[in-house]
């Protein structure tokens, strides 16, 4: 088998060196050339420049040779990756980014609230336009590095024409007569006990019944709780778990940092290839001090799902007294269909109703419809009660 990888430890022992006059780093060049030529290498990694710069004491020589090195590597026709430490006032402590002509990536590692976050930013990329923001990334246990998907941010999604049933006939009628758009994003918001999860369960049931796959991310209840609750309203979701169409995944939002949640979510989606994904509820993530980041993360998830043509249903718990149509603006802007659920006290009883705040691309009902959650599922009443 031909050798494909050479790892050479360049060891500079500071105790042993005496600098006695002029010198250059031609030895390094000879070493590199020999290694590259011996296996016909096309890629070279130098990790890290800091060691070289730190151990030899003549900065003028080092700088001149670094400059020469980068030119040499280019002429040699290899793609090279060089690592260096960031400086306080400059990209690198030693300013070597001046000699780098093609691409500079800056990595950052912060600990926020005891959760570590890594970020990457493209500082320079000659010859092409590039994203300029910081993006979180994660190094997974299997060593794979996951960066938030970039392609998703271009608003370039295919708009599907196909409509899929919500699982509740009367609701489909309200939705332009046919249900949700495939690949769209659906937000169901309401206070506690409004029936969000039940509405979602109908959708899950309809999806699996059609032979399609559904992934549900649970952030408050366990899978067995959800299955039991839905069984009590006449929906047997267990059968879909058994035949593999439905997967329920439970996780506490506090367990990981946001980026890790995002990556895990994407990872599960890529493993199971669902047609529909439900998040119950997204409000579990909300913390006042991180609202921008949370909004950004959710927007990214929705965006990612749209890119994949996966229909996304997000449940949002509003607190009592919260202005009902208030949902963080970043999230609602990426939502195509928004159902608002309310519990209204009337004549000493609580009545449930729902209405469609918006549903892009279709003429939808603007009526407030009352509904009940019965042993046979959700039933919408015919007429609006005043």
């Amino acid at each position: 088998m031909t050798k494909k990888l050479i790892v050479d430890h360049v060891h500079i022992e500071p105790m042993e060196i005496q600098e006695t006059g002029e010198y250059n780093l031609e030895g390094l060049f000879i070493r590199l050339a020999y290694a590259i030529d011996s296996i016909g290498a096309t890629r070279v990694v130098l990790d890290t420049m800091q060691t070289l710069l730190g151990r030899l004491s003549n900065p003028a020589i080092i700088r001149a040779e670094l400059k020469r090195l980068f030119i040499w590597l280019k002429q040699k026709g290899v793609t090279s990756i060089i690592t260096a430490e960031t400086g306080k006032d400059s990209i690198t402590r030693s300013g070597i980014e001046e000699y780098v002509t093609d691409c500079v990536l800056i990595l950052d590692h912060r600990i926020v609230d005891q959760l570590s976050t890594r970020r990457i930013r493209i500082a320079k990329y000659r010859g092409s336009s590039h994203a300029t923001n910081e993006y979180p990334f994660l190094i997974n246990v299997d060593g794979i590095i996951s960066v938030l998907p970039l392609s998703s941010l271009s608003l370039d999604h295919i708009a599907y024409e196909e409509r899929i049933p919500s699982g509740i006939d009367e609701l489909d009628e309200m939705l332009g007569g046919a249900g949700y758009y495939r690949g769209s994003s659906i937000l169901i918001s309401g206070t506690a006990g409004c029936g969000k999860s039940s509405i979602a369960a109908h959708f899950v049931d309809a999806t699996c019944r059609r032979g399609e796959k559904c992934l549900v991310f649970l952030f408050e209840e366990s899978p067995s709780q959800v299955l039991r609750n839905m069984r009590s309203i006449g929906l047997d979701l267990e059968q879909w778990v058994s035949n593999g169409n439905l997967k329920l995944l439970a996780n506490r939002p506090t367990r990981y940092g946001l980026e890790k949640h995002l990556v895990q979510t994407i990872h599960e989606i890529e493993e199971h290839h669902p047609d529909v994904v439900v998040f119950d509820p997204i409000s579990s993530f909300w913390r006042d001090d991180q609202s921008l980041e949370i909004e950004a993360m959710l927007a990214r998830i929705v965006d990612y799902l749209k890119t994949k043509g996966i229909t996304a249903m997000l449940l949002n718990l509003n607190s009592e007294g919260e202005y009902m149509e208030h949902t963080n603006s970043n999230v609602s802007s990426v939502i195509d269909t928004w159902l608002l659920l309310r519990n209204i006290e009337q004549n000493g009883q609580k009545n449930r109703n729902l209405y469609i705040v918006k549903s892009r691309g279709m003429s939808h009902s603007n009526k407030v419809r009352e509904f009940k959650i019965t042993n046979d599922g959700i039933q919408l009443s015919d007429v609006e009660r005043v």
Binding site: E16, Q18, G21, Y23, G27, L56
Partner: protein
């Protein structure tokens, strides 16, 4: 190049000078080390000059980055001295033939 009577015992110096071709630096270093050897190590050194262009694999084997590099193979421990060897004092310190200034006993 060996001195006239080279005996392999603890006091003898085995030196290798690694250069990259015959540049000015190389010539300078060779001239300097020869002189230093004759002046300080008469009768107890062997010196080999190696051109890394001729034997590139040695650069990795001997952990050479800068040239010229003078390696003291014997006596142990190994010493790396880099540069054209024009600073004789530094060369001698590197070869352990002189104590460093701070250590000099007055």
């Amino acid at each position: 190049m060996k001195s006239k009577e080279w005996i392999a015992d603890g006091n003898n110096y085995s030196l290798r000078l690694y250069v990259a071709g015959m540049s000015t630096l190389s010539v300078e270093a060779i001239t300097n080390i020869k002189r230093i050897c004759e002046e300080e190590l008469e009768g107890r050194y062997e010196l080999e000059v190696i051109d890394l262009y001729q034997r590139p694999s040695l650069a990795a084997d001997e952990q050479i980055i800068a040239v010229p590099t003078l390696i003291r193979k014997l006596p142990l421990p190994l010493r790396h001295i880099i540069g054209d060897l024009s600073n004789k004092e530094r060369v001698l310190v590197g070869l352990d033939l002189r104590k460093k200034k701070e250590e000099k006993v007055e």
